[in-house]
Amino acid sequence: MLLSVLIFLPVLFSVMIVLWPQKSSVRHLALGFSLIEFLVSLVLLQRFDPSSAALQMAEKTTWIERFGVSYFLGIDGVSLMLVMLTTFLTPIVILASWKSIDEKIKGFHAALFILQTAMLGSFLAMDAILFYVFWELSLVPMYFIIGIWGGSRKIYATIKFFIYTMAGSLLMLLAIIFMINLTPEVTGGAMSASLLDFYKLKIPFIAGDFFTTQTLLFFAFALAFAIKVPMFPLHTWLPDAHVEAPTPGSVILAGVMLKMGTYGFLRWVIPLFPDATEHYAWVFIAAGIIGIVYGALVAMVQPDVKKLVAYSSVSHMGYIVVGLFTMNAYGLNGALYQMLNHGISTGALFILIGMLYERTHSREISKYGGLASALPLYTIAFIIVTMSSIAVPLTNGFIGEFLILLGAYQYAPAVAAISVSGVVLGAAYMLWMVKKVFFGPKGELVRAHPLQDLNIRELAVLAPMLIMIFWMGLFPGHFMSFSTTSIDHLIKNKHNYSLAVVSTSMKSLEK
């Protein structure tokens, strides 16, 4: 029940927010709700058994019998941390949007909660169709968030975002349908959309022949996830979406939604199509590497802070993809960890940029300068987050990046050698931006606006992020211990993957 509560509580919240009579207290209400949701997720964390690779707290109810579609939720080490990330970021986002979102507040918070449901659902769904439902559902609120509360080119950006993502995921739908039609051979007659039954499928694979079932299915899934991640060269929706999205949208988009793509690789692509994954890993690693270098290079010449961070996301997500497809313990653990890191540090960057935008209404780098003397606290926060983003040790970013690079080195030294250039380029574009924005003589915007340093609310927004940056950098074990068992299990059984099911309250759970 806990997982269902976790997923559907936000729906209830969003309904309540819409029905709430008082407009002035909607924000407080939403913040309270999101904190409640976070508390629920803490209960989940407490009940989770990190020593087991099994699917825990599973719930399964038949939904569409004819297709074997069930309402099947479960959590394991792979999804737990992403769930936590989602619930962690939401209150922060609400608090961060306190001032910046000043119209249609109800609608905004309702959309945010629906989005939360969709994201949690995608992380927890263990049924292909259920997963797809949540996956696609997540597009809608984000579409509105960008489209309604976004910047000047919001419509272009939001449609691009929507169409790109949908184009990818529809192919995945086709693949899912195809796989459902394959399942009778392992279930003994009935169709099933359960991921566990999918895992049992032995899908034929012939190395070198592109038109074999497994390869095609692999690419159908992978395309959907690759667009979401987004991997080079499917990334162009991201800068536009980020630039136009309002701060909370950017944070959630970068923080959680991109992770849905990488999570998809981890949960679906790698275990379902092990042969194809192995055989075509180089394609994705190559794309990942190109993403790392390309994202960094392009970030270097961006005139807009937000676009710069967006391209840095492309670069960072490239690392994650490389880590995933190295298929060794370091790469996978690092990738999973980097998902969290990126969620926090890029999220924090977007929040910071949002705060700046609230003050000056511009994101053009060249118009800033000397901000450090005007906003010292802000500058400190920004630099800490920058350090996390460029993976300075003792911040979270380092752990993930290091492990990924280590994994990449073990996959092929050349991969690590090229990827490591991201370390340099990352520092280059971030520090270049920091220098232009914060240092030097005061720029025209800084002179033109009487700037207030961070207030209590903003400090409250940033503090958890900053704490997490150091906590995760100093004690990665506290976080990784939840996922290592699951990832070891995946690596050990990658050609024969299956998940045991541990259920707290289930009677009807088969196997």
Binding site: H235, T236, A329, V392, L406
Partner: protein
């Protein structure tokens, strides 16, 4: 107190100082901030001394105190603890760092008292020390890397301390990014070592180091060490990554003394000494190290000849001296390298602080052409500066003499040494003597060229005390490592330094150990000292006695002078050859790949689809006969397909 607690206090004390000062960063109370920071470092120094004493009390093989606070990363076989080790090498390092650090902190109280950001300054400084201590104490490559990057970060912050000046902020950025290039290679080195040996623990790595020399041009260990060395070139400002260090002089002068002379920049040397069993097995890497070191020593020294900024001269001198250290470790003289590291820390810190004192006195003027004749205004500074000068040009019995001489001798006599390396070292020494004398002469001696409005004055005690202490150290610092020949001569004075480090230094496994006689050593020693002295005297004549000669020489040298004066146009070459093309390429990538290819492709698809839409619309022309025609054509095609298909 057990050593665990001592190490903890040693590490945490600067961190606490950092946090306290960091929280109250807005305060302008320089005395409080300075006291907190200096006190924190003093505590650390006390711990360092106690640890050193504890080590002394142990038998030579057991001089290794370890502590592990917690497990940091543990994934698969990759296990790294927050573990620290105090042994012969690191104990010396922590003594230098905390000792010199404490003095520089003290000096800063005076130097920075007028600055509004003084609290922030001290917090950075403490934070730097914390990271530096992690670097030297870390028991694995990864913990070392933490400090390695951490000091880079602090360096970045402190160079850009006066960030309102764009050039200074840019200097910080340049330092960080250049360092990052090295760090990236360092990471690769770590990966190679881990993949080969399955550990990143320094102790274990050294124990696992292959017993035989690596065959072939560049083996695994060779590659790994080479990568680590590239990391070191970044941190320790060697060719080709030395360019950041002169720019780093944008930071406050004590920072230059602490970070860019005494401690951080020597980290590369320290790292190589730490991993000497591995480096020894990779002769080719060693050769590269030695050549790079020698070349850097020469190159930087020549540039130093023409610089007019007091700090820039010192900076190039630092680069040059670091070159000596790498020359030393490159020829296998790890002890000598460490030795020079220490003495250099003393005299270079001294000279930087002295320079700071001068700058302070002449109201932030750094151009030596606008100084001169300061001797009478700044007697203490002058005196201590002279001590430093004597040390750096290698006059016996000052500290620099012993360490530099050891290096030159090893460069000549070591199995991995070479006549040319020695020659480079000696020429470097001559050049050093020349430009250092020039610096001294133009600053303190001769006629005053100081602006009339400025009335130079001696610095307060808080600044001169560190100068005096360091001056003393510059004199006596070298006496712990008196070469055997001199030791014999003086009556069995042992080389404490060598014996202290011996357990951790791997002997060069060389069959062709040529015997060198003591006479040979005496001759070489004498010649290098003589040459340096002549060079110094020449400089004295040119810059004090015969003013105007310098200009004539410069004119005569023409393009050579111009090249040297412009630092061989290295920065410009980097900009023209790497940075600008990269930026241009990035811009083109963005414009061509993103905008013109990927997005265009997307638009093209949209265009095609929309074009299809317009075609369909034009077919839908409203004429019902047209529609009927479609029906008929559809029927005909379908029927035909039915027949033939």
């Amino acid at each position: 107190m057990s050593h665990q607690v001592l190490i903890a206090i040693l590490l945490l004390s600067p961190l606490v100082g950092f946090i306290i000062n960091g929280i109250r960063f807005r305060s302008a109370n320089y005395l409080l901030a300075g006291s907190i920071a200096t006190g924190a470092v003093a505590v650390s120094f006390a711990c360092a001394v106690m640890l050193f004493v504890e080590l002394l009390g142990l038998p030579a093989e057991q001089r290794r105190l370890t502590v592990s606070f917690f497990e940091w990363i543990a994934i698969g076989n990759f296990k790294v603890n927050a573990g620290f080790v105090v042994d012969q090498i690191s104990s010396i390092m922590i003594l230098i760092i905390t000792g010199v650090g404490a003095l520089i902190h003290l000096f800063s109280i005076g130097y920075m008292h007028h600055d509004k950001g003084v609290t922030k300054y001290f917090s950075y400084l403490n934070f730097f020390l914390f990271n530096m201590l992690i670097l030297v104490l870390g028991d694995s490559l990864l913990t070392m890397f933490v400090g390695w990057e951490g000091v880079g970060l602090c360096s970045y912050l402190l160079i850009g301390f006066w960030f309102s000046d764009s050039a200074k902020a840019a200097a910080g950025m340049k330092a960080f990014i250049t360092n990052r290039i090295g760090d990236a290679a360092f990471l690769i080195g770590i990966f190679i070592l881990f993949t080969t040996f399955g550990t990143v623990n320094l102790h274990e790595l050294n124990a696992l180091a292959p017993a035989a020399l690596e065959a072939g041009w560049l083996g695994t260990v060779g590659l790994a060490t080479l990568m680590l060395f590239i990391g070191a070139t970044g941190k320790s400002a060697q060719i080709p990554l030395y360019v950041w260090l002169p720019d780093a002089m944008a930071g406050p002068t004590p920072v230059s003394a602490l970070i860019h002379a005494a401690t951080m920049v020597t980290a590369g040397v320290y790292m190589i000494v730490r991993l000497n069993p591995l480096f020894v097995m990779a002769p080719n890497t060693m050769m590269v190290v030695a050549i790079v070191g020698a070349a850097t020593a020469l190159l930087a020294a020549t540039i130093g000849l023409t610089q007019t900024d007091i700090k820039k001269v010192l900076a190039y001198s630092t680069v040059s001296q670091l070159g000596y250290m790498f020359l030393a470790v490159g020829v296998g003289a790890f002890g000598a390298g460490m030795f020079h590291l220490m003495t250099h820390a003393f005299f270079k810190a001294l000279m930087f602080l002295g320079a700071g004192s001068v700058i302070h006195a002449v109201h932030e003027e750094q151009d030596i052409q606008k100084m001169g004749g300061l001797k009478k205004y700044l007697p203490i500074t002058h005196l201590t500066f002279v001590l430093g000068w004597l040390a750096i040009i290698g006059m016996p019995p000052f500290a620099g003499f012993f360490s530099k001489d050891e290096i030159l001798w090893q460069a000549y006599s070591s199995p991995r040494g070479h006549m040319l390396l020695w020659a480079a070292g000696v020429i470097g020494a001559m050049l050093t003597a020349f430009y250092m004398t020039r610096l001294l002469a133009l600053t303190f001696w001769g006629k005053s060229r100081v602006d009339k409005k400025i009335h130079p004055h001696e610095s307060p005690f808080v600044m001169t005390i560190p100068l005096m202490v360091l001056g003393l150290l510059s004199v006596v610092g070298g006496w712990v490592g008196i070469p055997h020949v001199i030791g014999e001569f003086l009556g069995h004075v042992p080389n404490y330094w060598e014996s202290w480090l011996a357990p951790l230094i791997t002997k060069l496994p060389s069959a062709t150990m040529t015997a060198h006689s003591a006479t040979e050593e005496w001759i070489l020693m004498g010649s290098s000292v003589t040459l340096a002295a002549i060079s110094a005297v020449a400089a004295y004549i040119i810059y004090v006695k015969k003013e105007g000669v310098a200009a004539k020489i410069a004119q005569a040298a023409g393009p050579v002078y111009k090249a040297v004066d412009n630092k061989y146009f290295v920065d410009e070459a980097y900009f023209a050859g790497i940075i600008n093309p990269l930026l241009q390429a990035s811009y083109n990538l963005w414009q061509y790949v993103d905008v013109n290819v990927v997005d265009k492709a997307t638009y093209k698809i949209t265009e095609i689809v929309r074009g299809g839409g317009f075609i369909v619309r034009s077919l839908q022309n409203g004429n019902m006969q047209q529609y009927a025609m479609y029906v008929v054509i559809g029927v005909v095609v379908a029927l035909s397909y039915m027949l033939v298909g």
